[in-house]
């Protein structure tokens, strides 16, 4: 269904790469022109994507703005794009952060400007494609295409000391996960084809098939689930697959870190909610404890590692591990609050951590160090605007009520609490630790006496730098004070996913395996937001607003 009768999704996706092509024809000396072209095209993509929430129909869980064209017919591959309430906000997050990334690179990138912007724009196209693709083949291509420009961004414009190591580590880790996922995709492709006689990579079609499940660890559905898990868990990254993250985030240039933390990590969580949950419902329930355990470890371990970081950028990188743990925890609470909170928190984390990397980038541009001790204290005296913005961003990251982080974390905690209060209590520990390391970081750098002579002559933010942060801060307040436009548009889609998880195989077409699953699903019938642990503390569907 496409209300606009116009391929708006393709337009949003390919405007950036069009910009990249335009840049290719510019002389490499014309830095200013290149920056403007990149700016214009990424902003255009953002502006066009702003139409999406207005025309978005929040009463249906169906895919919207759909485009479907045959591509490789022989294999059943089609060019199939569409968004629902889950991907809508991630698309907007992507277009917004990418435009900001171009802006924040304006003065920071002075070498190889042309190549830099080409890669940045290709990267944007790849990420947008990931969130829109509804054909597994197309999805996989976008998924992999993202790797290449990111690899170059880290490897060429990264911090000289360890950029090569970080770039290759990033590439190999992610690729390792994706190729295993590819095998998973092939497995369901052939299973579905064998069952129905129709070989297709159409995600919506593949979702209709029930994949054979038994509680044995190595049943078909569990294996495929694990194949997808590996790819997404590395991307998120979940503990213990997170080791690539601190290196990549720390060594990347500012825009690279913003995009990595803000968008790339969301590709992993998005994958879980888009594919793992609705496609493999039994396995998703099977692995709830496993996932929640990993998430809680990530929340607490990530936060504790933050406390001992001496490198500001590395600290924020590790804080991502902790925050992404929250996202995964909410998702695997498998109730409406948890999953909604999880999706909202993806956006929140993208905004706040993106902003934090911008904050670090601003000080790095001035002082050329990321070490907290070297940066010194008392910066608020010299840079009041910077300190104010930093304070807001930090409070958003901590989850102060009134700002966006609170809404997401609150929903996640409610979701987790409904299933198991122990999970929630662990997660709260993470929030407390989060407040500790962020406040401590802020205190060490912004407050105290202005001692270092280098800091005496620091300039406060200029208009361009403020412009990179202001849109994000506006979003902080908007989501924090009036989240319902956001929640309303994801609600039906989230409920649809949960319905698919709840019904499990019973809701799918596969006479062969139906009988086996009836017993497993009956227990959960009454309410779609009921927790999955089997205990029946499911409250009636209260939806926080």
């Amino acid at each position: 269904m496409n209300v606009l009768n116009f391929p708006i999704l393709s337009l949003v996706t390919y405007l950036p790469i069009l910009g990249a092509i335009v840049i290719l024809f510019l002389s490499k000396e014309r830095h200013e022109a290149i920056r403007w072209v990149a700016m214009v095209f990424s902003t255009a993509s953002f502006v066009v994507s702003l139409w999406l929430p207005f025309y978005f129909d929040s009463t249906t869980a169906e895919m919207q703005f759909v485009e479907k064209l045959p591509w490789i017919q022989y294999l059943g591959v089609s060019y199939f794009m569409g968004i629902d309430g889950i991907s809508l906000w991630l698309v907007l997050l992507t277009t917004m952060l990418c435009a900001i990334s171009v802006l924040c690179s304006w003065e920071a990138i002075t070498e190889r400007v042309k190549e830099y912007h080409v890669f940045l724009l290709i990267l944007e196209t790849g990420m947008l494609g990931v969130f829109m693709a509804l054909d597994f083949f197309l999805f996989y291509i976008f998924w992999e295409v993202v790797l290449v420009p990111m690899y170059f961004l880290i490897g060429v414009w990264g911090h000289p000391a360890r950029k090569l190591y970080a770039a290759i580590k990033f590439f190999l880790f992610t690729l390792f996960g994706s190729v295993i996922m590819l095998l998973g995709i092939l497995a369901i492709y052939f299973y579905h084809g064998g069952q129905t006689g129709v070989y297709t990579f159409d995600v919506l079609e593949l979702m209709k098939t029930a994949y054979p499940y038994s509680s044995a660890l190595l049943s078909f559905q569990n294996l495929v689930w694990l194949a997808f898990f590996l790819s997404f868990a590395i991307k998120v990254p979940m503990f213990p697959f997170h080791t690539w993250l601190p290196d990549a985030h720390t060594e990347a240039p500012t825009a690279g870190s913003v995009i990595l933390a803000g968008i790339l990590l969301k590709m992993g969580t998005y994958g879980f909610v888009r594919f793992n949950l609705p496609m493999f419902p039994e396995s998703s329930k099977h692995f709830v404890t496993f996932m929640v355990t990993l998430s809680i470890i990530a929340i607490i371990y990530g936060a504790m590692v933050c406390l001992v970081q001496r490198d500001m950028k590395r600290l924020i990188a590790f804080s991502s591990v902790s925050h992404m743990g929250f996202v995964m925890l909410g998702m695997f609470a498998l109730n409406a609050q948890g999953v909604q909170g999880s999706i909202l928190q993806m956006v929140n984390h993208g905004l706040s951590t993106g902003a934090l990397f911008l904050i670090v980038g601003l000080i790095y541009d001035r002082r050329h160090t990321r070490m907290i001790a070297e940066i010194g204290s008392g910066l608020s005296k010299q840079m009041p605007v910077y300190a104010t913005l930093f304070a807001i961003v930090m409070l958003s990251s901590i989850g102060l009520p009134g700002l966006n982080g609170f809404i997401g974390e609150f929903l996640i905690l409610v979701g987790a609490f409904k299933v198991n209060y122990i999970w929630a209590s662990f997660a709260v520990t993470g929030i407390i630790l989060g407040a500790a390391y962020m406040l401590w970081l802020f205190q060490r750098t912004m407050f105290g006496p202005l001692e270092k002579p280098e800091n005496m002559k620091l300039l406060d933010l200029n208009a361009r730098e403020i412009a990179t942060l202001v849109p994000i801060v506006i979003m902080f307040f908007w989501i924090g004070l009036y989240p319902s436009p956001f929640l309303k548009r994801m609600e039906v889609s989230v409920n649809h996913v949960l319905e698919q998880v709840e019904k499990g195989q019973a809701g799918k077409v596969n006479p062969g395996t139906k009988a086996a699953s009836v017993g497993a699903t009956e227990r959960h019938l009454p309410s779609i937001i009921q927790p999955t642990s089997g205990t029946s503390e499911g409250a009636p569907g209260v939806r926080e607003r």
Partner: protein, 485 residues
Amino acid sequence: MEITLPPVDLGAITPELIVTGTALVILLVDLFLPRDRKTPLAYLSLLGLVLAFAASLPLWGRARYAFKESISLDPFSLFFSSLFLLIAALTILISTNYLEREEIHRGEYYALLLFATLGMMLLAKGMDLVVLFLGLETLSISLYTLAGFMRARLRSNESALKYLLLGAFASGFLLYGIAFLYGATGTTNLKKVAVFLGKGAPLSDPFLFIGAGLLIVGFGFKVATVPFHMWAPDVYEGAPTSVTAFMIAGTKAAAFSAFLRIFLYSLAPLKPNWSAVLWVLAVLTMTLGNVVAIAQQNIKRMLAYSSIAHAGYILVAVVAGGELGGSSILFYLLAYALMNLGAFAVVILLGQKGEENLNLPDYAGVGYRHPLPALAMAIFMFSLAGIPPTAGFMGKFYVFSAAVKAGYIGLAIIGVLNSVVSVFFYLRVTVMMYMREPRAEVGPIYTSPALAAALVIAVWGTLQLGLFPGRLLELALRSIRPLLG
């Protein structure tokens, strides 16, 4: 015993005749050209290849046999002949520059290249083990000479001698295998072998197994699968770069074409037996090729090991078998040829006289000094590594789909993990080109329209097959069907 000559059907071998004729004309014209002006021969041979391709077009669609069923004109053989003509044409395009730089002014180069192409075409068309052997020897003998074409260079001599000795060994194994197969089935005709085995003849005949085993060894040598790969890195490194490109892309495809016809068609009833052997060979080949490639500093040597690894991926598809497996091999070989020839075109372009500038550190900063060739090289490297949207990705995707479909999940997992390992050394080239500072003292590079054309074709093909593979996939499927019966 009375020998009856089969009816002569020249129409069936027109493309081969054209290639042979062109080669002979080149030898003749060569005499009248001045010593350092041999480039017209390149264009002459290109003309011959184009004509041969044109002559092969009418043969499509009318599957038939000729010369008493010893030549087969099915889509399979025509697909491969076209592939070989393309490989030969690209090789010639990248050769002119190289030969001038290395001051190899010899017309025989082109003639030998065409003879080698002829051998490859016979390998694809041969329906009789004797014809296959003839094709293989025509190919090999031309290549022995080409490998040693830089007489003055020790490396080139070593390459030729090594290739000759081990190639002769391989031929011995093959002949021995053919003899055993003949002993077991009473015929050298592949169709009759297939009929004989398909009729429910006892499949436990030890002669049959020995024959099949020896054939695997022989072809294993030719396509350089582990453990029969020892010659490959040295030969590929020592041979003139353009010849290396031809060997890596062409010989492998040619040997696989004959291999497929024998194993997927004639010996198909024995598949449970030989596929187990090939399973092991595939794993060994992929793994060793990729792991050892990591340690290479010389780019030709790295590509040599990479080609070993790619033979392993193809073996995965052979093991998987079926329509999907078979057609994926054809697709893979084309993709593989394009990206390898492209990569070698860049290697030639960036090389310096006397086979210099071939080590990885020599590529430092190339991305900024020669942006276009570097971009092309990056595309080929990502394609070889199997990153979409490139031909290499499609090829691997297709191969591993076949493995998954046939239920060889373990093999598929080993394959994709290998593919991850391989990314490491392919990426190192891009690391060098884009992420290291250039070295100071490097001479200028010489380009030529021919080389540029080859690069454009290779880049275009690599991307085209990656983005819109549909029609070629269908062609590959149509081509493999006659083999699978």
